[in-house]
């Protein structure tokens, strides 16, 4: 058995290595796992990104503690949580890609009693396109099944949004399955709009919506025809 050099599935990954007219570079990203937040209504929770720990107690359920990502010691818990929701595992390098470059943009929800990671959001923030607008990206979101319907997902997303806005995000994007009405409704309540539909984006052949949130008024910068000429074949 020899190691096989992977050519990553273009869904949610950059396809820079693709060649030929059929190739299409999609935006470097990973599919967000949005199942966790299904059917959770909009939340008004305000969480400061700088203050990375907020405690919400919903008796009689176990108390949840929200913490920022701090070290690789948290990684295995995060990975096992996310892998439970994915048919295809991410390699550890994918997690490290995000966590080492943008550690302040990832948050965990912990069961205080068990000390277990039961929710996680992983994000990225970097200039995007010709306009070089700061684009935040919610790459992964997962909440353990037993802890759903407690606004944990929406709280994590809001923490991430606040953190990215504080770090200078002009806009925030993510992808979700186009059939996942409850997740879409959740994000729409937060102000996201459906920006694009991505055909057969997921490995199971389901389309995705790319959702976008504008973090600041940008009438002028939106008008720069961002990407219209540079995004040949991009999402």
């Amino acid at each position: 058995m020899s190691p096989k050099k992977a050519k990553a599935k273009a869904k949610g990954t950059t396809a820079a290595a693709s060649s030929g007219p059929a190739s299409h570079a999609t935006e470097a990203s990973t599919p967000a796992t949005t199942t966790a937040t299904a059917s959770i209504p909009a939340s008004k929770v305000k969480t400061s990104a700088a203050k990375s720990t907020t405690t919400t107690t919903l008796a009689p359920l176990p108390p949840i503690e929200y913490v920022g990502y701090e070290s690789e010691h948290q990684l295995s818990g995060m990975m096992s949580l996310i892998e439970n929701d994915l048919s295809e595992p991410y390699s550890i390098y994918t997690y490290r890609y995000f966590l080492h470059q943008w550690p302040k943009l990832s948050f965990l929800a912990m069961d205080k009693d068990k000390g277990a990671c039961i929710g996680v959001v992983v994000c990225r923030l970097e200039p995007h396109g010709r306009s070089k607008r700061n684009r935040g990206y919610i790459a992964m979101l997962a909440v353990s099944k037993e802890y759903r319907k407690r606004k944990i997902g929406s709280t994590l997303v809001l923490m991430a949004i606040e953190a990215m806005k504080t770090a200078g995000a002009d806009e925030i994007v993510l992808e979700t399955e186009y059939t996942n009405q409850s997740a879409i409704a959740l994000y729409q309540q937060m102000g996201f709009i459906k920006d694009k539909r991505l055909y057969r984006y997921y490995l199971n052949g389901i389309d995705a919506f790319r959702l976008k949130l504008f973090c600041r008024p940008q009438v002028d910068t939106v008008m720069d025809m961002e990407g219209l000429t540079s995004q040949q074949g991009t999402a």
Binding site: K7, A8, P21, I193, R197, Y199, F214, V219, V222
Partner: protein
């Protein structure tokens, strides 16, 4: 025949070896060394959280990376249970029922692959596809050691199954060749990775056909006899016919695809027969699918472990047999419809065909979409039948009908310019006999050059319809810009035409003056005063008809195309479910703006071309009369106008009618949205938007329509304009609803008229069913919307507003102070949720309020 098979079998040995797991020691030319211990030692000096990363290590690299020897990640890892299981015996004898099951499930693999999955998880799971030439059965049952206890004849495998599977494999090879042209998106629409495994592309077609003939002969003779001895009459008849149908299907589907993918559409038209035959046999196969008996091990769903895959296997769901047959049938239907469109009667019909092909539901598969794009434009030929420049010329001609001399001698001039590749037009222009002719020739040459520039936007626009709908919308943003750029060229060209027309006019006036002076002299001499008056009147009429019109021919055509693309792009957003509830009023406000602009534009075009046609017709009549009376040189060439002119109904009339219908629909919908906004059921500023992120609707508005932002025309609608419009149009909700209802009525009447047109008049000869369905769908939207409005008018808030209006009128009469109108905060009745339904048309919703 046997020699062919044998020779191929021998050449297939490495292929088999390649696909056979080899667990023995592999001698590599590379000096592999296990560095695990070295790395572990090296990392002992690092703290937790430290990472050594090359700067260029991207997310792509991260996602490409696999964890070696992790069974979930490492697809090349040979698992113990995989190693120990027995290999499927490819020479296993089969019963007729097992043959049916294997054949049908290979089709499942083929169609699932065609629907966008990897070969390694679909077609290649069939042991017969991968190891076909390992079939080495002695066809004499008496000497066949492998003959099983049931006495199944080996010929069913070696003479029947083998060529059938080979035909499917080679069909897939043809498809793969087409898909590698790159018209559709890799991994999104289709996966072309064949893992280095051939699909018997080099196996001669003639040999395959011979093998299929032999299979058919065997089934008609010995095969049938054997089955009849083994089964009762009815069952035997059913099984014999089922196997024959599968042979026939294999042959007809392969031959159809072979002709479809032939270069330059040389044989595509001959594919219609085999496509129809394939569909016929497919229906019979579908009806007999239940006869199959499963065969353990014939499909290896872990075969990807033998193939060089680069990502972990993905969980996929194979199509069901029913889905497979339906989708194959749809594929053959789509391919046949393309074949029928090859000899398109005119550009209007061609464009309509593309529109309706791209808008089909369910959407055509990736393969027919790729074929559509291939045949659309190859070697500067459209649909394998007409040069692209003449198609674009006809599109302009059909839409704006420029004055007849502009395209005179177009093809000859095009050929000349194409052959000489002149750096300047002057080099190819012959010296004309007079100045006017010279000017006209220059314009004609520039028309050729313009058409050449229009080829790209025109072809690209049609090609978009071969993309999936998500891509269509995104690519249309770029297409709009192409038309915008061409519009600038068109404007300059039209200006030049105007200058020439003025020059012609001046020259004609001068000539007429000279002629008049000459005639006066002659009259004085001959006393023919009366005849002179007649000629004078005629010449004045001629001059007037030329002077009165200075239309923008080319810019009109470009503008028409651009508006069409813009509307299409916005309405595709509805089809793709991109818009939130609060955005629909913005979108349909913009669509309303575009549609009314488009309809007005086409009305102007029609008015101008009508005037010209009338002028031209009168001039022609007079010239004919003159010609009869006077023998003399005619500077105006009498070349035939393009054939479309003889069509019973001009193309622009139908285009205009449809544009006006859509303008009415868009207007009506916007009026309903405006009324609902005024009533507080809809909000242009939903409160949740201000809560976390976006709190600036102007940004959102600008973002939604950013593709149009820098267009010179039509002038982009801005956010304040939209707000003004929605406030103005909805200020009296009941009036707005009544107006919308009337618009739906008008639109319905127009749609009824359109539905009554012949397909020839409608330019829908290539897509009649789809065109009529579209018109019918819009008609249903009109009817359902009228009913919905009737219910809306009974809404409590509408009544509240009506009562307020009546109070104001009474108060006004009595001189009392006016109350402020009710608003979202002051209505007594509760707000209701707005409901949009799209069951009749993907672009035009029916708006109602939930109870």
């Amino acid at each position: 025949m046997e020699r062919d098979s044998t020779s191929h079998a021998s050449s297939a040995t490495p292929r088999i070896a390649q696909l056979t797991l080899d667990t023995g020691a592999v001698t590599s030319v590379y000096p592999y060394e296990d560095v695990t211990a070295l790395l572990e030692n090296a990392t002992k000096d690092m703290n937790v959280g430290q990472l050594i990363q090359v700067e260029s290590f991207s997310l792509f690299d991260a996602m490409c990376a696999i964890v070696i020897m992790d069974p979930k990640m490492d697809t090349g890892m040979v698992l113990d249970d995989y190693l120990t299981r027995p290999q499927y015996d490819i020479n296993r004898l089969l019963s007729p029922r097992e043959f049916i099951w294997i054949f049908d499930n290979i089709l499942v693999g083929q169609m699932t692959w065609l629907s966008g999955h990897a070969l390694s998880q679909t077609l290649f799971t069939s042991c017969y596809i991968l190891r076909l030439f390992e079939i080495e059965l002695d066809e004499d049952p008496a000497r066949n050691e492998l003959q099983d206890q049931h006495g199944h004849p080996p010929q069913l495998v070696s003479l029947v199954l083998k060529p059938c599977v080979l035909a499917i494999a080679k069909s897939c090879g043809l498809i793969l060749e087409e898909m590698r042209k790159g018209h559709v998106y890799e991994e999104e629409d289709f996966m072309t990775n064949s893992f280095g495994v051939s699909l018997y592309e080099s196996f001669p077609v003639a040999s395959l056909v011979g093998m299929l003939d032999q299979a058919e002969y065997w089934m008609q003779s010995a095969g049938s006899q054997w089955i009849q001895t083994q089964y009762d009459d009815q069952e035997a008849t059913e099984l014999i016919q089922s196997i024959k149908d599968r042979i026939y299907f294999s042959r007809s589907s392969f031959m159809a695809l072979f002709q479809v993918v032939a270069p330059k559409c040389l044989h595509y038209h001959t594919a219609i027969g085999p496509l129809d035959t394939a569909r016929l046999h497919l229906q019979r196969i579908k009806a007999t699918q239940h006869l199959g008996d499963s065969v353990d091990g014939a499909f290896d769903h872990a075969v990807h472990r033998k193939l060089v895959t680069n990502t972990p296997p993905r969980a996929i769901a194979l199509l069901t047999l029913g889905e497979t047959f339906d989708q194959l049938d749809q594929m053959f239907t789509d391919l046949a419809s393309i074949a029928n469109a090859l000899q398109f009667p005119d550009t209007g019909n061609l464009v309509n065909f593309f529109i309706h092909f791209g808008a089909q539901k369910p959407a055509p598969g990736a393969f027919p979409r790729s074929i559509l794009q291939t045949v659309l434009y190859e070697d500067r030929i459209i649909m394998g039948s007409r040069p692209v420049h003449s198609v674009v010329r006809d599109s302009i001609q059909e839409t704006v009908a420029p004055t007849h001399w502009i395209f005179e001698g177009f093809d000859a001039l095009y050929a000349k310019m194409d052959a000489e590749e002149p750096s300047s037009l002057e080099t190819i222009l012959e010296v004309a006999e007079d100045e006017i002719s010279s000017l006209k020739t220059q314009i004609q040459a520039k028309a050729v050059a313009f058409v050449e520039k229009a080829v790209k936007p025109f072809v690209d626009t049609l090609q978009v319809m071969g993309q999936n709908t998500s891509r269509q919308r995104r690519n249309l943003r770029k297409i709009v810009l192409l038309w915008e750029t061409l519009q600038e060229e068109a404007e300059m060209f039209d200006e030049e035409i105007h200058m020439v027309l003025q020059e012609i006019q001046a020259q004609q006036q001068l000539q007429q003056l000279q002629q008049e002076q000459q005639r006066q002299r002659e009259q004085e001499e001959a006393g023919e005063h009366e005849a002179g008056q007649v000629r004078e009147a005629e010449s004045k009429t001629d001059t007037t008809s030329d002077i009165s019109v200075q239309p923008f021919y080319f810019v009109s055509w470009v503008y028409h195309m651009k508006l069409w693309v813009m509307e299409w792009m916005l309405l595709l957003g509805s089809e793709l479910e991109l818009y939130s509830d609060f955005e629909y009023s913005m979108v349909y406000g913009y669509v309303d703006d575009l549609m009314s602009t488009h309809a007005q534009h086409l009305q102007r075009v029609k008015a101008v071309s009508g005037t010209e046609a009338q002028g031209s017709s009168e001039t022609q009549k007079k010239k004919k009369k003159k010609k009869k009376k006077v023998d003399g040189p005619n500077t105006e060439a009498d070349e035939k106008a393009p054939s479309v002119r003889s069509a019973p109904l001009s193309c622009d009339t139908v285009t205009l009618d449809i544009a006006m219908v859509k303008a009415k629909l868009a207007r009506a919908l916007f009026m309903v949205f405006a009324a609902l906004t005024k009533l507080g059921h809809l909000s242009t500023t939903p409160p949740h938007l201000a809560s976390h992120g976006l709190n600036d609707l102007e940004t959102l508005f600008a973002h939604r329509f950013k593709a149009f932002r820098y267009l010179a025309s039509p002038r982009p609608m801005n956010y304040p304009t939209y707000l003004n419009r929605i406030e103005r149009d909805g200020c009296m909700p009941s009036n707005a609803l009544e107006y919308a209802s009337n618009l739906f009525d008008d639109a319905k009447r127009s749609l009824d008229r359109l539905h009554g047109l012949s397909v020839r008049d409608a330019r829908a000869q290539l897509c009649e069913d789809a065109w009529r369905k579209d018109i019918k769908g819009m008609g249903k939207v009109c009817i359902a919307s009228k009913v919905a409005i009737h219910h809306l008018e009974k809404d409590a808030r509408v009544q509240e507003f009506v009562q307020w209006t009546e109070r104001q009128e009474k108060g006004k009469a009595k001189g009392k102070a006016l109350d402020p109108p009710p608003n979202a905060d002051t209505y007594k009745a509760p707000a209701r949720k707005v409901c949009l339904e799209w069951q009749h048309h993907p672009w035009w919703p029916i708006i109602s309020l939930k109870p």
